[in-house]
Point group: C2
Chain length 157, copies 2
DNA sequence: TTTGTAAATGGAAACCATTTTCAATAAGGA
DNA sequence: TCCTTATTGAAAATGGTTTCCATTTACAAA
């Protein structure tokens, strides 16, 4: 559950300053857009949303801020294969939990799912251990995505 | 094991014609580049290779042919996060088996691995069944990739 | 073999998400 | 309030991929 429900300063200010970054209106607005979002936003999506309440924002700043957030580990960056990156607040920053994605190759819809995630985590742990030993490869991240047709697109075909 | 070891026409000619495509020198050269390759090639990589034996080739044709091959299911298209797509002959077209990838985020090296693939397949089957039922999502493809530091880059840090 | 026709081709231009450049601005410690 | 330096936005650059279009080619039919 996020703190800062209208009372003190937003929960991420401390972490932001701790990394030596300044708090600016643009960054504030971008974070809020990500916090309010219930979907996976592109840089352009975020730019549009922020632009309505803070017209001075530049797309460049959106890209730069997102890069910082990704490097700080506050935001995930995804590639769903449509040529533009998508951004999503990391679990713990929101109500969300660890999840993976179903991507419809037809309508580009993306479904979050948490089913079987425990099983997946178990396998991943085991795999990571084995692979890091065999290839002395240090795994820091993983991607699991399913591609196919969503219910609606399946029926339309 | 691929057929056509110097005797009849290449194994993929039939499938190609079956889809209504014509056999051309360019397509022949591109397929051969993929067959001979032991790594994951970008469009530019393929263009360079083909260009040495068939200078008339155009990069455009490489892209067009790759798209056909991907749609026909003869070639996989991957995104390892470095801004350019990589292509790899599908299992069965070569000696290769079903495998997944370890991607070094530092040197961009990609390691094929088959370890734990059986376990993974088991989980995937289960997951696919559950997800297709719950979300009526028809899964046609999946991506499992691990990101991190390869042995060499780990030591250099 | 010759011919007809649609498919295929290459080069140049367009596309488009993202990055770089740079002069102006603003955050925040002193 | 003042100073320093990070941050910013606009415009230009970048670079992989796609589109355009006039020319060439594969190959089936004659
Ligand atoms: Mn998600
Ligand atoms: Mn591979
Ligand atoms: Zn769909
Ligand atoms: Zn490496």
């Amino acid at each position: 559950m996020p703190r800062g429900n209208g009372l003190g300063p937003p929960w991420w200010h401390g972490r932001f300053r701790g990394c030596g970054y300044k708090i600016t209106l643009g960054r504030e607005a971008i974070l809020n857009a990500l916090i309010k979002a219930d979907q996976h936003l592109s840089a352009e999506d975020i730019y549009q949303k922020v632009h309505t309440t803070y017209p001075a924002i530049g797309l460049t700043t959106v890209y730069r801020t997102l890069e910082i957030l990704v490097n700080m580990g506050l935001v995930f960056k995804f590639d769903f294969g449509d040529g533009r990156a998508r951004y999503e607040l990391v679990e713990g920053s929101k109500k969300s939990h660890h999840h993976h994605h179903l991507v419809c190759t037809n309508c580009k819809r993306v479904i979050d799912y948490t089913d079987f995630v425990d099983d997946e985590i178990g396998l991943l742990k085991k795999t990571e251990k084995g692979l890091s030993k065999k290839y002395s490869f240090e795994i820091t991240n993983h991607v699991i995505q399913f591609y196919g047709l969503c219910g609606q697109c399946k029926n339309t075909k």
